[in-house]
Amino acid sequence: MSAREAEFLQYVEEGGAVETGDSMPDEYRAALIKFIEMHGNSELMGVLPEREWILRAPTLQRKLALTAKVQDEVGHSQLIYRVVEDLGKPREACLDDLISGKTKFHNVFHYPTKTWGDVAVIAWLVDAAAIISQKALLKCSYAPYARIMKKICWEESFHILHGRDCILALMTGTDEQRELVQEAVDRWWGPLMQFHGNPILAEEDPMYRWRIKSQANEEARQQFLDGYVPQIWELGLTVPDPKLRKRDDGVWEYSEPDWAELKHVVTGHGPKTEERLGFRRWSRDETAWVRSAVLADPA
C-alpha cells in the first residue's frame, strides 16, 4: 500500500468523511461503486414484484399505500444512482449492466410473488431485513451515500407499519387469509435467511476496512431474528426451520442457509430473474425515444 493509501485508510478508520471531490484510492472508489450500484439495482428490481399487486390491491387504502411504497423505492433508486453517477458511472451505464446481467441485485427480488400474502410478508419481513442493513449504512465513510441513507431510512419507516397492518388484517381475518400468510412465510423464509449474506469475518472484508459497511452479515441476521421471530410466533405462525431457537446467551441458532442457492440466484439464475430483466429491457426500449427527446444525454 502506498503512503497516500495508508493515510486515507487511517483517515476513514478514524471516522473521517469522504466527499465526492476528495482524492480517494481507485480501489475504494471501485468498491464503493460496486456496492452502491448493487443497492440501486435492488431498489429498482424490487419494484417489479410489488407493482403487479398495486393493480390488484383489494381496498382503496391498500392501493394508495402500496403505490406510495413502490414510489418510495423508485425514489430511492434515483437517489442511489445519482450517488453512483457522481462517483463516475452514469445512470444509463448502470441500467445497461443491470439489464445485461453484468451487475447484481439482492436475492429476494429474484423470486415470484404469488398472492396477497406475499405482498404483506414482503412489506413486513423483507423490508425489515433490508432496513437493518440500511441503518448500518448511515455510518458509511462516503458522506454523500450516508446522507441519502438518512432520507431512505426515514421514508422506510411507514413501509414497516404498512406491512404489519396488512399482516394483522389477514391474521384477524378468515382461515383462508391466515393461510395466505403462513404459506408466504414458508416460501420466503429461505431467501430471508440468505439475505444478509454468508458470515464473513470483518477483518477479511475490505468493505469494513474502508468503513463502507459497518455491520457484519451475521450481526445483521441476528438482529433480524431477534426482532422478528417473536413477532412471527406471537401471531401463531410457524417458521419452516425446526432448528430455529434462541439460546440462553441470546444468540439465535438456525439451520444453515443454502449458500449455494444464494450464489446461484444472485448470479442471475433465480426463478424470475430472466423475466424481470426482460421486462426492464422491454420498458426501457419502449421509452428510449422519450429520453432522447427530453433529456440532455440520449439513452
Binding site: 417489479l48 398495486i54 381496498t59 434515483q78 396477497w116 388484517a169 429520453r291
Partner: protein, 228 residues
C-alpha cells in the same frame, strides 16, 4: 358492453338517482385513470418522472375515493364496495379512461393533457353546485389538480413538436370530448384549439375494461366480504 341502467350493490339494492350517477361517473373516471396511470409505476421513461407520475396516480385514486364516499352516503354502503364490488357493465366511466396505453408514453401524456384540460372544465362547474358537499369537494380537488395541470402542460409543451404526441392527441381527441357533457364541449375545443368531432360517448365500454376489472378485483373476489 353497455353501461347498465341500474347498479346492484352487495345488499341487492338497485337505484336510479341522477346525483349518485354523477358521483359514480366522476369516481369511476378517476379510479380507472388512476389505475391506468399507476401501471407506469416502476417503468416510466426516467426515474424522476416515475416518482412524479406515481403521485398523480395516487391523487386520482384519492379523488375517486372522495366521490365514492359521497355516493356511498346516499346508498348506505362504503367506498370500497362501490369501487370493487360491481360488475364491469355497472361502471360509469368514460371509455377514455379505460384504454390501455402502456408502454406508449406519447399516448399516455396525450390522455393526461386532454383529461386534465377537460376535468378542469368539469370541476369549475361542480364548484358552482348548489349542493355544498359537492361544491366543497370540487374546491378541494381543484387545489390538488393545479399540480396535475402544471405537469400535463409542461409535458405537452415539451412534446408539442413530437409527431408521436400529435398523432396521439388526434387519436384521443374524440374520447376526451365524450368525457364531458354536451354543454361543456365547446370550452374544451377552445382550450385545446381543435374543432369538434364525433365524440366517443359514455354508455358503452371498451374491450380493455373487462381484463382491467378482472385484475383489479381478483384479490377482493378471492375471499368475498373479507377485511384486508
Amino acid at each position: 358492453m353497455q353501461v347498465a341502467d341500474t347498479v346492484h350493490l352487495p345488499r341487492g339494492k338497485a337505484f336510479v338517482n341522477p346525483d349518485v350517477d354523477l358521483f359514480l361517473q366522476l369516481a369511476d373516471d378517476e379510479l380507472m385513470l388512476g389505475w391506468r396511470n399507476s401501471e407506469w409505476t416502476g417503468i416510466a421513461p426516467f426515474l424522476e418522472e416515475d416518482v412524479a407520475f406515481s403521485s398523480i396516480a395516487q391523487t386520482e385514486i384519492g379523488h375517486a375515493r372522495a366521490w365514492y364516499e359521497l355516493a356511498a352516503e346516499e346508498l348506505g354502503t362504503d367506498a370500497d364496495a362501490l369501487a370493487f364490488d360491481r360488475e364491469p357493465d355497472e361502471y360509469r366511466c368514460s371509455p377514455f379512461v379505460e384504454l390501455r396505453l402502456v408502454p406508449d408514453w406519447a399516448r399516455t401524456i396525450a390522455r393526461h393533457w386532454l383529461y386534465e384540460t377537460a376535468d378542469a372544465i368539469r370541476i369549475a362547474d361542480l364548484k358552482a353546485s348548489d349542493d355544498p358537499s359537492v361544491a366543497g369537494l370540487a374546491e378541494k380537488i381543484d387545489r390538488e389538480e393545479t399540480y396535475h395541470r402544471m405537469h400535463a402542460d409542461m409535458w405537452a409543451e415539451r412534446l408539442r413538436d413530437e409527431p408521436r404526441f400529435l398523432a396521439a392527441v388526434d387519436d384521443l381527441w374524440p374520447y376526451s370530448l365524450g368525457m364531458l357533457r354536451d354543454s361543456q364541449r365547446e370550452q374544451l375545443c377552445e382550450r385545446v384549439g381543435r374543432d369538434p368531432v364525433d365524440a366517443i360517448e359514455r354508455g358503452e365500454h371498451t374491450e380493455d375494461l373487462r381484463p382491467l376489472w378482472e385484475d383489479m378485483t381478483m384479490v377482493r373476489r378471492s375471499v368475498p366480504g373479507a377485511t384486508w
